[in-house]
């Protein structure tokens, strides 16, 4: 009960002290405001990047494995991977035959070519060779027209399905269906347009709107199959069965490749998790550095608060003397000044949060989807109170230790 009264009293004193020195309070708070805006914006941006990345790879599907020659992410050991045999159409067909539980097995390969329609040219477009089963392993579907069908693959047809961005660039308002576009040296008939994925080239990541799908057989025939990167995409029967399924795939692949039990795998299994982990590792470091740098501004703000608290303690030496004479204990005085410094910082934190909402809106409009989440708000409030307590503790301790007789005599 007693401490509750004193806390309330401390709060009133803090409010009074801030009100009494408005200009000083505002200037001191400004340091904290800037610090909080910087930190919150960094956290928001990190969140935005994370969302954007998750969104951009969501088309890959989390119940899908990629059998490839090399892992997507690796360090060193490059030459060991380089000397591996490439995967082939035959191996894909065998895997499909043996792997009964798989929902779908789909080979794909890709190349980069310039694409042309009349005078419109797009350079270095990602051309993906695939089969009709692509729609089973990916969530992407055609917006209009159709996807590659079995016939296209079987008879090596020069048909293509284009991504949204390709359509926008090459055709503008014209209906692209049944138009002929030139990919490399060959002409293809547009049979479909993929729906918009909306992840326009995220930090060098794949841009799923800037792709063209053609039958895999056509791609091999037109652009060659030698040493071409080749993936076999397999879809697990369910999300839960992923782990078992991965072992099954490895087992079948080893059989197909006729590996002895002592031999290492000469292929790699890739999945979205691998990519996610790699991304999280990189982003973790980037965000940490960002927070460190923005944290410096908060640190400087904290120094400002500490400075002002020292001034405040000196100015109010006599007041401290009076309070001690009529019965304030050390802890009471300590709490009073800690309350004052944390109030300043909390105020700064709240104003900083409000400003951060504005900054986030701007980021949202101009750069990427970003939003301030409840945990970020919570963290910002905790951080600002913490900065207040840390920067107030030394001045408050000095105040608490004052000798009442000397403090009362202070002019």
């Amino acid at each position: 009960m007693r401490s509750l009264h004193q806390w309330f009293e401390s709060f009133k004193i803090a409010a009074g002290a801030i009100k009494a020195n408005k200009a000083r309070g505002i200037l001191t708070t400004l340091g904290i405001i800037i610090g909080i805006v910087a930190v919150v914006t960094t956290m928001t941006a990190a969140n935005g990047l994370q969302n954007r990345f998750t969104e951009s790879i969501s088309t890959i599907g989390s119940d899908v494995l990629y059998v490839s020659r090399t892992p997507w992410v690796f360090t060193g050991r490059f030459f060991q991977f380089r000397n591996r045999k490439n995967l082939t159409m035959k191996e894909s067909e065998k895997l499909e035959r043996y792997l009964k539980q798989a929902k779908a097995v789909n080979p794909n390969t890709f190349t980069n070519r310039n694409v042309k329609y009349r005078s419109q040219v797009l350079e270095n477009v990602n051309i993906i060779g695939t089969t009709e089963k692509h729609t089973m392993v990916s969530v992407a579907a055609p917006q209009y027209g159709r996807f590659i069908v079995h016939n296209d693959v079987q008879y090596k047809k020069f048909n293509c399905v284009i991504g949204w961005e390709i359509k926008d660039h090459l055709f503008k308002d014209i209906d692209p269906l049944n138009k002929k576009i030139k990919i490399g040296r060959n002409f293809y008939r547009v049979v479909g347009v993929m729906e918009k994925q909306g992840s326009a080239g995220f930090f060098g990541g794949p841009n799923f709107d800037r792709q063209i799908f053609i039958p895999i057989t056509t791609l091999m025939k037109a652009y060659g199959s030698f040493n071409r990167p080749f993936n076999i995409v397999v879809k697990a029967p369910s999300q839960e069965a992923m782990t078992d399924f991965e072992y099954a795939v490895i087992g079948e692949m080893r059989k197909i490749r006729r590996l002895k039990p002592t031999e290492e795998n000469d292929f790699s299994i890739n999945k979205m998790d691998t990519l996610m982990n790699a991304y999280n590792n990189v982003m973790g470091v980037v965000v940490l550095i960002g927070l460190l740098i923005t944290g410096i501004s908060l640190f400087v703000g904290g120094i400002g608060v500490m400075n002002i608290m020292f001034v405040s303690v000196t100015e109010r030496t006599r007041e401290i003397g009076i309070r001690k004479a009529i019965g304030a204990k050390k802890s009471t005085i300590l709490t009073q000044f800690l309350f004052e410094s944390s109030s300043i910082c909390l105020l700064g934190g709240l104003v900083g949060l409000i400003l951060s909402f504005g900054v986030t809106q701007i980021i949202n409009l101009l750069v990427m989807p970003a939003s301030i989440s409840i945990p970020i708000v919570f963290t910002a409030i905790v951080i600002s109170i913490l900065v207040g307590v840390i920067s107030g503790i030394i001045p408050a301790y000095r105040a608490a230790r004052l000798n009442p007789i000397e403090a009362l005599r202070y002019e």
Partner: protein
């Protein structure tokens, strides 16, 4: 609650030299006494007041306030004793400048942890005793010197202390206002409060029933004052 001081000394160390402000002083003060401590500057009366007021502890000797051995207390225990047992009235009033009359008077009770309803009631009673009910919401800067000292008196007596300790209470006031303040002390003593005045003005000391004169840290004389108002 009585005061018992036995062989009390206080030594201040100033660098290499040490100054003995009080030398083996022994005093006993009974309940409801009206005591004046007099002496020229440097006589040790401020030191005496600080120790009696529990703002400081003696270097040697004993100080009993009722049953409490104050000379052995730590800072927080002293703060609690000051809060419960001592009411201070200072020469320079020592009110909180940003707080109004009510809050200044209420403050000792905040530190003793009283509920705000009870604080309000008791503060109002104390303010009424010094006749400032109509000034409750004023700040010290809006009051005259005499009124400020009356606020200080209200604050001193609000926690029903054992001793009211007044250090030159009229020192910053003109003589007629000073006389008004002394009337309040006289009344408080008559209604049962122990009052200790520290002063160098003999006409102020004449209000008390007992006068102790200090000189060079020792008691020069300790005489009852027949002309004291309550005698």
């Amino acid at each position: 609650m009585s005061i018992r001081i036995e062989n009390m000394s206080k030594v201040y160390k100033l660098g290499a030299t040490s100054v003995e402000a009080l030398k083996e002083v022994s005093v006993t003060v009974q309940d409801n006494e009206y005591l004046a401590i007099m002496g020229p500057s440097g006589s040790g009366k401020s030191t005496m007041m600080n120790i009696i007021g529990c703002l400081d502890t003696p270097t040697s000797g004993a100080y009993f306030l009722g049953d409490h051995d104050v000379s052995k207390m730590n800072d927080d225990q002293l703060a609690e004793i000051r809060n419960q047992k001592i009411g201070f009235v200072f020469q320079t009033f020592n009110l909180l400048p940003r707080a109004d009359v009510f809050h200044n008077v209420e403050l000792p009770m905040v530190y003793s942890g009283m509920s705000s309803a009870r604080r309000k009631k008791m503060a109002e009673v104390a303010i009424e005793k010094v006749g400032l009910t109509d000034r409750m919401k004023h700040r010290p800067s809006e009051l005259s010197g005499g009124q400020r000292q009356r606020v200080a008196i209200a604050r001193a007596l609000v926690n029903n202390p054992s001793i009211i300790l007044a250090d030159e209470p009229t020192g910053n006031l003109d003589s007629s206002t000073g006389a008004e303040i002394m009337v309040i002390f006289d009344q408080l003593n008559r209604s049962g409060n122990t009052i200790i005045l520290v002063t160098h003005e003999s006409d102020i000391a004449m209000h008390a029933r007992r006068v102790i004169k200090l000189k060079d840290g020792m008691i020069e004389s300790d005489t009852p004052n027949k002309e004291g108002i309550a005698a």
